[in-house]
Amino acid sequence: MTRHAGAAIDASRKLRFTFDGRAYEGVAGDTLASALLANGVRIVGRSFKYHRPRGLWGAWVDKPNAIMEVSLKGSELPNCLATTTTLEDGMEARAVNAWPNARRDIKGGLDLFSRFLTAGFYYKTFIWPDWHLFEPSIRKMAGLGSVSLEHLDDYITDQSHDQCDLLVIGGGPAGLAAARESAEAGRDVVLVDDQELIGGSAYQAPDIEEQYPEDWVTSQRAAIETAGGRILSRTTAYGVYDHQLVALIETRAFGQTPRLTRMRARHALLATGAIDRPVTLPGNDTPGVMSLTAAREYFHRYGVLAGGCAALISNQTDAQTALAPLQAAGLEIQALDPADPDLKIAGARQTTGVTLRDRHIPADLVLTSAGRTPMVHLWRHAGGKLTWSDPLQAFLPDNQLGWMQAIGAANGTFDTDTTLAEARARATGATPPADQPEPIQPLWPRPGAKGRQWIDFQHDVTLKDVELAARENYASVEHLKRYTTLGMASDQGKTSNMAGLAAMATLQGKEIPQVGTTTFRPPFVPVPLAAWAGQHQRQLYHPVKRLALEPQHRDAQAALCEYGGWLRPGWYGAGEADTRIAHEARTARATAGLLDGSPLGKIEVMGPDATAFVNFMFYNTMATLKPGQIRYGFLLTEGGIVYDDGVVSCLGENHFLISCSSSHVDGVRGMLETWRQDGNDPDQIFVHDLTMHWATLTVTGPQARDIVETLGLEADLSSDALPHMRFATSTWNETPMRIARVSFSGDLSFELSLRSSMAPALWDHLMGETKKIGGTLLGIEAMSVLRAEKGYIMVGKDTDGETMPHDLGFTIPRAKKTAPFVGDRSLHTETANDPHRKQLVGLTVPDGAPPLATGAHVVSDAPRRSLGYVTSSYLSPNLDRPVALGLVENGAARLGEEVTIWHDETLSKATITAPCAFDPEGDRLHA
């Protein structure tokens, strides 16, 4: 086929490509769609539900069907819209939703059963016994392309932030005129256009302001850039979000990742144009039926005549004038009365023309338009309201938003000269002259008519489906959409919504504006999820906090894993993890273990009101704490739920150190700051998070004291001078050091804290001494075993969103503390007093039984229901049997009771015990 001149193409540069395995040739500047059309290919895809053949309706984003899986040089992308995919040499395209190809689709036979696949089909058919039985095979049938995981491996997008004074969305005549006017007035202007060749509909006009369209566009472009404006082509504004954020997506060469820009626009002009609406009549989905505008775009941009002999069915008064250049190029056109109720489109796989009663009008192309729909999506994203224009039979922006205004066809202004005047006025803040649009004859679906008339071309929603939905009272447009899937195609209703809601209006005897539109939501065009993810993936998804001693841990062959946001040693040494962990847990109890406890929270609270403040923040009484003393306690929410636990050290008068859980430091600090500033005098209390500044090394085990003594500190480490829950201060290598007798293992333990820069020297010393006596480095996993043996909880693991402190056995402050504290009143509600509350217990299994599964349920026998569940479970290397903790209804009163455990369809037995399974007298702790 010979090519005519087209504004976007260079016909001398040939590009080879294949479609469904057949080889074709296109030219530079083509889209996949224009190249296929130039090659005479009429069937470019299949519809979603009935797999009916689909041709090209639109030339750009108003195309619900031509979705292809494209590969090129190792890149493979599903869901490429043929009309917006720029052709590149060597592309291999395949129609999705069609097997083996679009021309011959085996599932095409589905169409024969279409009367069983009506609106609400899924709801009505697959509800019994369980949707999940049907889901796998339906999903398999329903897919639109498949994702190549290999390709996604390095598919990482760039994201940037930008701002401008005026954002002009759309680079057609309206947008170009407005951008130039504004840029030349000195404003910071950005113009975005979604095509490679900007100009929008300009090329369809014979001339603009007495210039050829190409020349006019070029001169506007040059003027904008000379005045300092920026032009972003291949860039779609796909969504408007709060506070005037406009999201832009820039497509690049095939396989290259798109770029996302978050543009803050102080003002915006919407020049997004309008699209043709399909005419609803029998056979209107036959390949060869094309929108009026698309035929003009294919001709003027790509030099392709879509056919040789066209029937024209349109209510647009200027349709024939508009088609004059195509006629001059050889297209025969026969105009028909669009309102004739007996019009039918003939042909199955390709149109053969139009039948009108007993007359057949032969044609290989049927050009239709039932009027133009302004592209108001972004206007609605921004919260703008729509008004109904009776002359244009369309919804228009009311232009009352302030920061954003619509111009040109997006505003219902279709005449070029009027558009230019309007655009230039809006660009300078002036009010444009009132437009007197030429009215069109309404041309909407006629419910009750015979034959299958398509409304949604991808999801195969027909006029009869809309009628059925109305009969079954799915009359609201939002219900209509979900019940019939109308407008849920990948074009998101651009081509189908107006016909659908007009049909519903007629069925209900209402006017179109009374029925209203469905909600317009971003994105305007499909955007790859990777564009939103950007760099936020893998290591950068949630960057971990790093220890000062990470190099030392790596040297010691630590298995570094994430624990509560920190990268920490799980265990040390090569070999099987379970063996290593058991070895560490056993050795730490036999001699000693050395643990890097640096992530432990270290929040200082000081100031004249500090004592009262800390006492208020904690469940436990902290006001009586003397300098040098340490006390364990809970932080609650106002709802009385345990938020965190930790120890409080009194460093001096009105001076405290809160050691909260490693993973809760940010949360606890936020909580302290909130109460400090809202409810207290912030000048009398100061909160300072020193977690990152101080390293903490924990030496634990029966020989811990021997190891710490080798530091030669002046502090007396004896049990009398420094008993459990006391701390001493000292210096080591001229650096202040705090030595705290706190234990999470249940053995004699010393927590040594000093500034982070000194941590490597301290680590080296302690590691050397630990090794000397046959001790071990201790990872978090082994420490978790040790604390579980002792029945010490981890908040968030052994507690849940209902756990109150008295459920954990800490009952005294609830009964006795008189000073107010956070969550106090919530501990005395009906729920808090419920005798069936879940309480912390230990669980033991019969001799020889394996450890319980964490998460397994404790169940009653008849009727069977959950009484609680296992929160922690380990094989204890020190007791040589499984140990477990759990939350069980009224558990504290059921010690010794045998209970049934349900896990993974099997039942087993366990006995409820006290949480502490190791050294219940605490002799080792107080050593």
């Binding site: 709060d242 978050r262 600090r669 909130t674 809202d678 008189t818 107010p820 504290f821 009143r825 919530s826």
Partner: protein, 88 residues
């Protein structure tokens, strides 16, 4: 995505902020008896108005609390002020 002006740091992205609660809510004095109704009201009943709302927010990067007045329909920020009473 919204932007809020922290009275201390200026206009910043919404991801840096944390909602604290409605402005002007008073905690019942729990040193004496508080009825179930009063406590439940304090914990759970929020005005949740349509239109102009006054709220307490935290700018998490500077940890300062401040009062913000905004429109819950249009999301427009009407103003922010320091929380402390002696703020000039």
């Amino acid at each position: 995505m919204q932007r809020f002006p922290c009275p201390f740091c200026g206009l910043r992205d919404e991801r840096e902020f944390h909602f604290v609660g409605e402005l002007g809510k008073t905690r019942p004095d729990t040193s004496g008896p508080v009825s179930d109704e009063d406590w439940a009201h304090y914990l759970h009943m929020h005005r949740n108005e349509k239109g102009c709302v006054r709220e307490v927010w935290m700018h998490t990067t500077c940890a300062e609390l401040f009062a913000m007045e905004r429109d819950s329909v249009t999301m427009e920020v009407l103003g922010t002020t320091q929380l402390r009473k002696d703020a000039s």
